[in-house]
Each structure stands twice: as C-alpha cells, then as structure tokens.
C-alpha cells in the first residue's frame, strides 16, 4: 500500500499569490494513496525540508510529491531530502506549479484548478514510481578544448596546472585566436601580443597540453566522463617534426596573391606560410588551394629551399581518436560582414574598414607596419569617423538583436590611440548609447572625450559616400537635432560580433544546444553559466555570449574549475532513468537497436522461463552505463517490451489520465 505525502510550496508569494495553496492541499488529500498533505512558505528551505523529512518518518510515507517550482530548479534538492529521510530518491515527483502555473496565470480560480490537476498528475505518476538505483562509470582523466583562442588557452592552462592532460583543437595553423590580432587592449592599453604570446608559449610548452592545430573535430561519441572524439589533423604538407619555423620557404614561395587572413586580407601571403611571427606552433603550412605545386604540379621551390627537408606534398589528413572525460567549447567569434549595410559603403571604398581591420592597420606587425594611412591611396588621414552599433542591437533583421558588448570600449580605445599617436587627426564617434560597465571602463571613455578631445555624436550615420577621393558622412546629431555632413578620410565600422560558424556543427556533434543567435546555451543563465545543458560539455569565452578579454579569461578559468571538478571524480553516478527490456515480451526485432543514438542496445540469445515454459530467444539487452534515457527505443518497440525507468509507459499514461480526468 502506497502512502504518498504531498507538499505544497508557497514560494513566498510567487505561488501563493496566485494559487490558493490551502485549496490544493484540501484537494489532494482526497486523492487515493495520499496519506499526508501540507503547505509551507518555502519548501526548499531547511525548515521546509525538515517538514518533509519528519512527515516521511511520522506517516511512513512511501513516495513524495512536491508542488513547487520547476523540477529543473529543485528536483535534485528534494531527491536529496527524500534520501535523507530514508526514501529512494526516485520516489519523488515534482508538480511544477510555479513556472507552469502561478507565474503565467493571473486568475486565482484558474491557477488553483490547474495546480490541483498538475498535483494529481504528479500523484498518479509517483504511485507508479519504483525505487531506482544508479550505476557508476569511470571518468577518463583527459579534457578536450575546442578552440585555441585566449579562452581555450586559459582553460587548458588551468586544467593542465591541476595535473590533468588536456588537448586543444584549433582549426587555424596556430593558436592565439582573435586576441592575437588585436593591437592594444582596453582599458589599460597594454599590448595584446605582449600579454597573449607568453600564454601561447606556455600552452605549447606545457607537458600536460597537446596542441592539435590546423585540426578539426570530426566526430564525437559517448557521454560525460567517456567521450570518444575523432580529430582530423589536416595535412599541413609540412612535417611538424622537422620544420624549424625558419621561414625560408615562406619568403621563396612565388605564389603571393593569397589574402593574409591574419591581417584581415589587407595584404597578401605566400601559399606556404606561417601565420605570424609568434605563431605556436611555429610551423609552416601549405595552403593547397593556392599552391602552384598542388594546382599545376610544377614549382616545388619550398621543397628545394627547405634545408630541414620538412616539406611533404604527399602528406594526408590524419584521424586521431581519443577518449575524454570532459569537452570545452571555446570556439570564439568572428565579426559580421558589414557589406549588408549598404549605407556605410563597406566594400565600395577601401577607406571604410571594420574595427578588426583597423586594429591590424594600427598594429606594428600589421600590413602597414603600424603607420596609420588610408588603405585606398596611402595618404595620411585628417579625420576619422567611427560608427558604433553596426549590426548590433538591430531588430530590422539585417543585423543582430543583441549588444556586442565590446564595441563601445574598443572604439574609445581606437579613438584614444589615434589621438595619442597623431594629434593632428580629428576623430568623431557616432553612437547610440555608450555602454561602459566594467572596472575603469567609464573613466577610460571619459578620458577619450575629456583628455583626447574625441567628438562623440549621439546619432546614427545614414550614408557614407565617396566624393573627390574623400568620404562624405551624413549622420544625425540627435542631441542637437540636426543633420551633420562631415568630410572624412576613413570610416571605421564597429561591426557586430557573432559566434564562429564552426560552433554550430561542433555543438551539433556534442548535442549541446545553441540559442537563437547561435551562441551556446548555458545550463542555467545565472547559476551555471559555464556548463552547457549537456553533461560533460563546458563553455568558455565568446561562444557563450559577447565578452571582453577580462570576462573571457574569468569565464575560461571558471570553466576549467568545473572541468577539474569533474575529472577529479573517481566515478560518475549514471542516470538511473534508463531503458530496460522485458525479455519475455521482446520480439528480438532490432528496431530499438537501430534507433539508439548511443549504441546502448545489443542482442543476446537467452534461455527464458516464460511462465514455466522454457524457451531460448533473441532478446534486447540495455547497457545501463551507456543508455542516456531518451526513450527513442520505447516507441520503436511494437510489443512494449522496452520501457524507460522513471518515465514508464504506465507512468506517462497515468499522468495523461490524471490530467484528462
């Protein structure tokens, strides 16, 4: 005989403000199987949990229903409470009367009625609950970091520091990512390369870190603690074990027309190249698409030049398969292509740049050696106009609805750098709002205005046109309610940032979810910001949302802490809600095996005792350590032999019954 206790939480006024909890208690007392019902202000509090524990003991409860907030919030809490009271934690069901009821319904009568129905459904389910026990699995003590920018590097260094092996997969030939392209960093104006490259070197040299550059994740199988990842090491056509990074070959290469990605295409590189002087690993790579040898079969100059005999035209992609306990997404961002915004003339005039291009133009290692000149004709500019929010906070559909967060600050940085180095150049910034939350951020912006005399104009630019070799900028000055017509030599667009496009396919392999903007979804927006909803997958850096460098590094380290926490565990407790097959009902048809995404189902010949009759049959067997409990198999099974513990056919039908009663 089941004895169910129902505990109705007020959640202060969150629930009790719209749901008459007293009536819910009265109603559920009438339900068959309910031996106890009570309400309390905060069921999740210590005293609320004590109320549950003492009721379990006093009334000999066999199962518990908590009518409260979403099970995604406190199911784990109440399972622990039940366990502490000596109940099996799987004898707990939650009726979500907050998110699914009190918060969305305004009418008390309606909300109370619905809360009672939801409570009944939970009671119906708990009456069919069975005690479950979880198995355990080992944890592979190695982490994979996907993306070798500052986020990935920081996460990997922290994990390595804790003594665990970690691999970084980076699609580019070098780690370093976007930060390597930056000139100075706000608000301190220290040189980006100066603070990044030592970390790159550390990552390359750390004995716990292995770099897979010019590599991509090919496939991911498995689950938390036990991922199996295949990495495609793309053929560099250069032997990493022999190349000394001397760069001879890169200078001799006759193919010189390839746009240099590192300098945002503002200059060119050879078909064999080293992305930049501080690249880690410093190994040349042949871009086969542009290499004369690969295109025509001739040339081979690099091969003849290389004294280390490192050139290997026959090199093939290599697939490496490894096991990992945890996977970190650190796939970063790219800048959107602003040519979709025709009014700014990007792509039409070379003197209209994105901020990242401007960053390279200012950089001593950039295409102009750090001399600020107009890309169109090399003249020294007199006036530069910066336009903010290009494609950010844009609900028109052309851009991104979100704030890219870093543009206000780097534009202030650009303005200061220009004014500092070239006091003769005047700078105007068009902005919608200037957002400077961050340590010393607003002070930095004020310096741009007050010390460096940067003209900030609140308003948007309507048109940028070329006129007589210069640019004409037409914009509105909202504070003074007038139209401005400015002559400029350069226009710099603070284009929105968006998640790197590779994130989507990788996330798909990891079964980690992505939000409407393509950023990775965190397990909880406030409380679990560095974990993805998929166990064992963690988020580092801008792949989760726009961030500046300090925030990225902070999140990267937080992410590492979570990974270390996971890798430190000796064993992981498995999901107890796994599929199980009744051999007496199993047809042996293999339908379940075909739909299982984890390969958790196999078939065996078994000797069965079918109500006293002995027979051998081919039956499905579930590997409980591998099963993740999706339930795909249960529906593929026509005989109903396959069922899912914790979400059995009977339980779900009981819920349907209770709701439709």
């Amino acid at each position: 005989m089941q004895k169910i206790g129902v505990f109705v939480c007020w959640c202060g006024s969150n629930i009790a403000g719209t749901v008459d909890v007293g009536r819910v208690v009265e109603a559920v007392r009438q339900e068959p199987g309910v031996a106890f019902a009570a309400d309390y202000q905060y069921m999740c509090s210590d005293s609320g949990q004590n109320l549950i524990k003492s009721a379990v003991k006093e009334h000999g409860l066999t199962g518990i229903v908590v009518c409260s907030c979403s099970p995604r919030m406190h199911e784990a809490t109440f399972k622990k409470t039940a366990a502490a009271a000596g109940l099996n934690p799987y004898m707990v069901e939650i009726a979500n009367i907050r998110e699914h009821c009190s918060w969305i319904h305004k009418n008390m009568e309606e909300a109370t009625e619905k809360a009672i129905v939801l409570a009944r459904a939970a009671i119906a389910k708990v009456l069919k609950d069975a005690p479950l026990t979880s198995g355990t699995t080992e944890v592979t003590k190695r982490a994979l970091v996907i993306g070798g920018g500052i986020a990935g590097i920081q996460t990997a260094l922290d994990i390595a520091e804790a003594g665990f092996a970690v691999d970084i997969v980076e699609k580019q030939p070098t780690i370093g990512g976007r930060m390597a392209q930056l000139d100075k960093t706000f608000p301190t104006l220290d040189c980006s390369a100066c603070i990044l490259t030592p970390k790159m070197v550390d990552a390359g040299a750390n004995e716990n870190i292995e770099l897979f550059t010019y590599s991509e994740v090919e496939s991911v199988k498995g689950f938390v603690g036990n991922f199996t990842v295949t990495i495609r090491k793309k053929a560099r056509s250069v032997r990493a074990d022999l190349c000394t990074g001397c760069g001879e070959c890169t200078e001799k290469c006759p193919s010189r027309k390839t746009k240099n990605e590192f300098n945002m295409g503002m200059d060119t590189r050879g078909a064999i190249y080293i992305p930049y002087a501080q690249a880690v690993p410093k190994i040349a790579v042949i871009d086969r698409e542009h290499c004369l040898h690969f295109k025509t079969g001739k040339c081979g100059l690099c091969e003849r030049t290389c004294s280390a005999k490192a050139i290997d035209f026959a090199q093939e992609d290599e697939l490496v398969t490894r096991n990992y306990g945890a996977i970190v997404m650190a796939t970063g961002f790219q800048m959107i292509d602003p040519s979709g915004f025709g009014e700014f003339g990007y792509g039409k005039s070379k003197d209209v740049l994105t901020s990242l291009e401007f960053e390279r133009l200012m950089n001593a290692a950039g295409p102009t050696g750090g001399h600020l000149v107009c890309p169109s004709d090399g003249r020294h500019p007199k006036h530069i106009v910066f336009i903010q929010c290009v494609g950010s906070r844009d609900t028109s559909g052309c851009g991104k609805p979100y704030c890219s967060k870093i543009c206000c600050m780097y534009t202030a940085k650009h303005a200061i750098l220009v004014r500092d180095k070239y006091p003769d150049v005047s700078v105007t910034v068009f902005y919608i709002d200037v957002r400077t939350p961050g340590k010393n951020f607003d002070e930095f912006y004020r310096r741009a205005v007050e010390e460096y005399g940067v003209q900030y104009v609140k308003g948007m630019v309507g048109k940028v046109t070329r006129e007589g070799g210069r640019l004409k900028v037409q914009g509105s000055d909202l504070l003074n309610d007038r139209q401005l017509h400015l002559e400029a030599d350069m226009v710099v667009l603070a284009a929105a940032i968006e998640p790197d496009p590779t994130a989507r396919s990788v996330a798909s392999m990891l079964t980690a979810s992505i939000d409407t903007n393509g950023f990775m979804t965190e397990a909880h927006p406030k409380l679990r910001p560095v974990e993805s909803p998929t166990a064992g997958v963690f988020l580092s850096g801008v792949c989760q949302g726009p961030k500046d460098i300090p925030e990225t590094v902070a999140q990267a380290s937080a992410c590492a802490a979570k990974v270390i926490g996971l890798l430190c565990k000796q064993k992981l407790v498995n999901n107890a809600c796994v599929a199980s097959s009744d051999p007496l009902l199993c047809n042996g048809c293999s339908s379940c095996e075909k739909v299982c995404p984890y390969g958790a189902i196999t078939y065996e010949e078994r000797e069965l005792n079918d109500k006293g009759v002995r027979r051998t049959a081919r039956v499905a067997v579930v590997n409980e350590a591998v099963c993740q409990g999706c339930g795909a198999c249960t529906v593929a099974c026509p005989s109903g032999a396959m069922d899912l513990k914790g979400f059995t056919n009977q339980q779900i039908m009981a819920e349907v019954d209770a709701i439709c009663r």
Binding site: A16, E99, I104, C577, V635, I652
Partner: protein, 152 residues
C-alpha cells in the same frame, strides 16, 4: 497568505483540455522560461514532462484523446539540436505519419501539432500555446475520435 483577488473565469464558457508533451531539455525549459518571463498562456494547457520528444508514444497521444483531450501538442528541441542527437528526428517521422493518419480518418488536423521550442524560446512557447489553445477553442470539443470506435 497573500491572495490575488482577480475574478474567476466566466462559468459555462467552453474550456478545452490540452495536453502538451514537452521534452525536458528544450521545450520544458522553454516553458519554464515563459513562466519566469511571465508570458501568459491559457490554463487549459497542461504539460507532461518527457525526457525527449521521441519518448512520446503515439499511444499516449491517442490515449489523451480517448480520455477527453481536445488537443495534443508535442514540443521538442529544434531538429539538429536534440539533447540526444537524433530523438526529435524520429519524433518528426512518427508524428508526421500519425497525424497524417488521424487526418485521413477525418479527425480535425488542427487538433494535433508538433512545435520545436528551444530552452531560449520562452516567448515562442507562450505564443505557440496561445495560438494552439485559440485554435482548439475554435474547434470545440473533440467528439470524433471518441465516436470513431469499433462496435458501437
């Protein structure tokens, strides 16, 4: 106890019964987000949590109708974003065929629906439920499937 004193629903007004199966990872979380964003939808909608939309057996859908539901909606992760990689792809085929069969039998095709709602789409969840509830209210009570039985 703090009480909200808004008026009770009009008596006698037709209130449909809508069962919504929501996958734990996306749509149930989307429903939670609708809740925490206070995006309302009719109380006619009652949510049943399943680990994945692929856990929903056509039997459950039919059972809901048989027990008096006027509309049944399934919500899962967007195709390609399934927490279990492929579950919602199977759901899509299964429900396409099931709904096609119900339509073939002459059951109003608007009574069944599948929507993909991510954990970030609280607004979509609320909008979907509002729209579905409005559709079902307009259709009225579901008699057909109950009457379409053997031997009566």
């Amino acid at each position: 106890m703090p009480l909200n004193t808004s008026a009770p629903a009009q008596t006698g007004e037709y209130r449909p019964l809508i069962v919504a199966f929501c996958c734990n990872w996306c749509s149930y979380a989307g429903a939670d987000l609708a809740g925490s964003s206070r995006l309302t939808y009719p109380a006619d909608v009652k949510i049943i949590r399943v680990p994945c939309s692929c856990r929903v057996n056509p039997l459950f859908v039919l059972k809901a109708f048989e027990r008096g539901a006027d509309g049944v909606i399934l919500c899962g992760c967007h195709p390609g974003d399934c927490h279990y990689t492929t579950g919602n792809y199977y759901t899509r085929r299964r429900m396409t065929l099931l709904f096609s069969m119900l339509d073939y039998l002459g059951i109003e095709r608007e009574r069944t629906r599948v929507e993909w709602v991510s954990a970030a789409e609280g607004a979509k969840f609320s909008a979907t439920m509002n729209d579905f509830a409005r559709t079902i209210r307009a259709l009225g009570e579901n008699r057909k499937l109950r009457d379409l039985r053997c031997g009566n």
